[in-house]
Each structure stands twice: as C-alpha cells, then as structure tokens.
C-alpha cells in the first residue's frame, strides 16, 4: 500500500544533512512551507545550497540558519530584504560567507522544470546583454542571441499545498502552486506540508501534482501570522 503520510516534523525532515541542496516553494506568501522552514535550524542540515525564488522568506522563518552561516550558496531571483537596512543574508553576501546565483525569474522557474523533466540544459533569450549571464555560453538561434542555462535539481524540496492524499497527490488553492509542481519533480525527496490530508484519494480534476513526485506529506496548520 502506498502511504506517504508522516506523523511528525522530525520524520518529515529525516535525512537532511551536510552539503545538501534544498528547494523551497512559495511566492507572495502562498505555498510557503513555514512550518518546515521553522524546523530546519533544528536539523543537522549544514553547508546548504538553497533554491528559492526569494531568499527573504527563508530568512524570515529560519533566521538561525543564516546566523549560524549554514547556508553557503543561494539560487534565487530576489535576494533583497525589506527596508533600507541589510538583512543577515545580505551581510553574508557582502562578507563572502554566502554566494549567490541570481537568476531572472523565468529562467529560475524553467531551470527547475528542466531539472525534474530530464532536460540538462536549454537556451533562452532572457538575460542576454545583462551582467547576470556574463560568462555563460551564448549562441544565436533564428537571428536572436540566447544563453545556455542549466537544470536545477535538489536533494530535498519543501513546499506547502492545501490538500493531499496518501498517494502524495496534491491540490493547490489559488496561487499556492507557483513553483511547487516543478520543484516537487526536481528533488529526490519532496516533503509537503498541507492543511488537510483527505480520507481516501483526491478526485482526478483536483490533482495538480501527481503523487509520483512527492515522497512525504504532513498535515500542519497554516503558520502565517494572523
């Protein structure tokens, strides 16, 4: 019997360790795995590469990871804190204890999709003529200059959805999905916190992510501030 439900956050995050790469779903506050992020500093995870659209969300919810300099490298389309003062990850960027692969958001999303889809690399016109693709291979297609971008994969993906079933099938509310489907496919171990694990199995029209991409599901309440 296929049963991907786990009962505790410890079980959900078991196996996280040294030198791993972790992807984080979420955009604009929707689909952010806040409960799992908060538990990260309590795991042995260290020397991490994080892949997250914005570094700020992780800094908000797993601040100690940055205080303890356990994040060595970030791939993101945004690495700016709110307000005028520097955030701790920005201080790490400044003092060189964390490096950053800053990516246009569309290339970021497509690199993750490619990672889950067995596409090792692709060409895109985005970023050409800007410093963010300096040093990357350029090539013209149909008269337009493009740049080679490579796939992103991870050891773990942490994300949030609304509902799941024991197969790991996922249902998203609203715009919760964002990077979730692609990140689920791009990681060896995808862990999803959900508002509700349903009895039985989700009906076909509600399945936004087939369970094959998901390893563990855990029912946890919405952890956003009221």
């Amino acid at each position: 019997m296929i049963d991907k439900r786990v009962a505790s956050i410890d079980e959900a995050l078991a196996g996280l360790g040294d030198g791993m790469t972790i992807m984080f779903g979420g955009f604009g506050g929707a689909g952010v795995p806040i409960n799992l992020m908060r538990a990260l500093p309590g795991t042995p995870a260290n020397n991490l590469t994080i892949i997250s659209n914005s570094v700020r969300f992780l800094e908000d919810y797993a601040h100690a990871l940055f205080v303890e300099k356990r994040v060595k490298h970030a791939v993101a389309s945004a690495a700016r804190s709110r307000g005028a003062a520097s955030g701790i990850s920005e201080l790490q960027l400044a003092d060189g204890t964390m490096t950053l692969d800053i990516a246009p958001q569309g290339s970021f999303a497509e690199r993750i999709r490619a990672g889950g889809a067995g596409i090792p690399a692709f060409y895109t016109p985005t970023g050409v003529g800007t410093p963010v693709v300096e040093g990357k291979e350029h090539r013209e297609f149909n008269g337009r200059m493009c740049v080679l971008e490579t796939a992103l994969t991870a050891d773990f993906t942490l994300m949030r959805a609304d509902k799941a079933d024991r197969y790991g099938n996922l249902y998203f509310r609203g715009t919760q999905g964002n990077f979730g489907r692609d990140m689920a496919a791009a990681a060896k171990c995808t862990v999803v916190e959900v508002r509700e694990i349903v009895d039985g199995l989700l009906p076909q029209p509600e399945i936004h992510v087939p369970g094959v991409f998901v390893k563990r599901i855990i029912q946890l309440p919405d952890a956003r501030d009221a």
């Binding site: 389309s77 520097s86 958001q105 290339s107 985005t126 003529g129 919760q176 999905g177 692609d182 919405d222």
Partner: protein, 225 residues
Amino acid sequence: MSYKALSRNQIAWRAAQDLEDGMVVNLGLGMPVLCANYRPEGREVLLQSENGVLGVGPVATPEQEDRDLTDAGSQLITLIPGASIFSSSDSFAMIRGGHIDVTLLGGFEVAANGDLANWDADMPGKGPLIGGAMDLAVGAKEVRIMMQHNTRDGSPRLLEKCNYKLTAPACVTRVYTDLAVVDVTADGFVVREILDGLSREELQAKTGAKLSFAPDCVVLKTPAV
C-alpha cells in the same frame, strides 16, 4: 510658462489609455499596477501576473481577502470571470513565448536605442532583485516604461546610454513620464505628447539624449485623478 508635473496616478491613467480592447497585459510593481484602476470602460484588458494568473481582478477588499490568492507583488487579489491559474514555469512560458501584448514596467533609465535598466541601482548593503522583469522585457510584444522624467536630484533618466546594469537591450517602445510621452524609434526618442506649459527646450534640458518631436506632437492631458 509654468507647468505641473503629472502625479503617479496621472501617469498611470495616461498609460492605461493606450491599453486596447482584448490586450493581454502584465503590470510591473510600483506605478504600473496603478494602471489597473484606470482601464477605459468597455475595453476587456486581461491582466497577467508572473506567479501564474491570467485575469487578475481588483485588489481584494477586506471581505474578499484570500491569502492563497496573490499577484507577483504579494498583493491579495481577486479574479475576473474567465481567469485562469497556472504554474510559474507555465507563466514564464507565456511571457517568454511572446503571448503578452504589452508589459508596463517601472524604470530607472531608458536609452535612446530602447535599452532598459530597472533592476539594480547598486544600493550598498542590499542584495539584487530581478524578479520577472528580464523575462518580460525580452518576451512581451511591447515594453512600455513608466517613470519620473528625472531623478530626485534632477538627473535625467532618458539617456544616450544607461549607467545602471541593463534589464534587457533595445526592448522599450514607449516611455510615460510625469512630463511627456516619448516613443523609442529607430531614430531615437520621439516626443508624442508634452505637458501643457512645458517648452520643448525645457523638456530637452531635462533629458539626457536628443529628443525629436513628432509632427503631430500634442499636449499631454492632465486628468483629474
């Protein structure tokens, strides 16, 4: 002569008048999202948001608020009838694939050849933020920029060549400022509309590249918004 520069809302109103019936439009953070409030009546303009929405409706009222329904600027939104939701990779496939008619973006600088700089102003101690701007600048059929004509210290933002890091080269087709509506053409900047009370010489003095004036250059309307 004296003149009164347009407010942010007035710039947004002006830019919104150019959104035609049936267009698919992506509005950037800041001034561009204000355009949603000024779409001319009777025109169906579909708003796209990079996180994965086509058919963004008005910002949610407190009663409508749903924290799982946001746009790319983290605003809580509503959906119009006929709206669809999809993944971010599908959203950028839509953008990069040339399916967006117009994107309205904020800008730091625009060059006379259409180069755009709008993502990195070299703020000390602050990390970079690209978001979807580079994909929109490369993928949308038309890239229109909304910005103040000058910086706070009076420096021009319309230039022969951008000083800041580029978002994309040669992509901008039109710029809406608080002083003028300026097209980017093969011959450089061409002023289409100029603020009432502002002379052509004054506008040129506030601009860092040579301006031409369209034969049918008219007065920029100052709506009561």
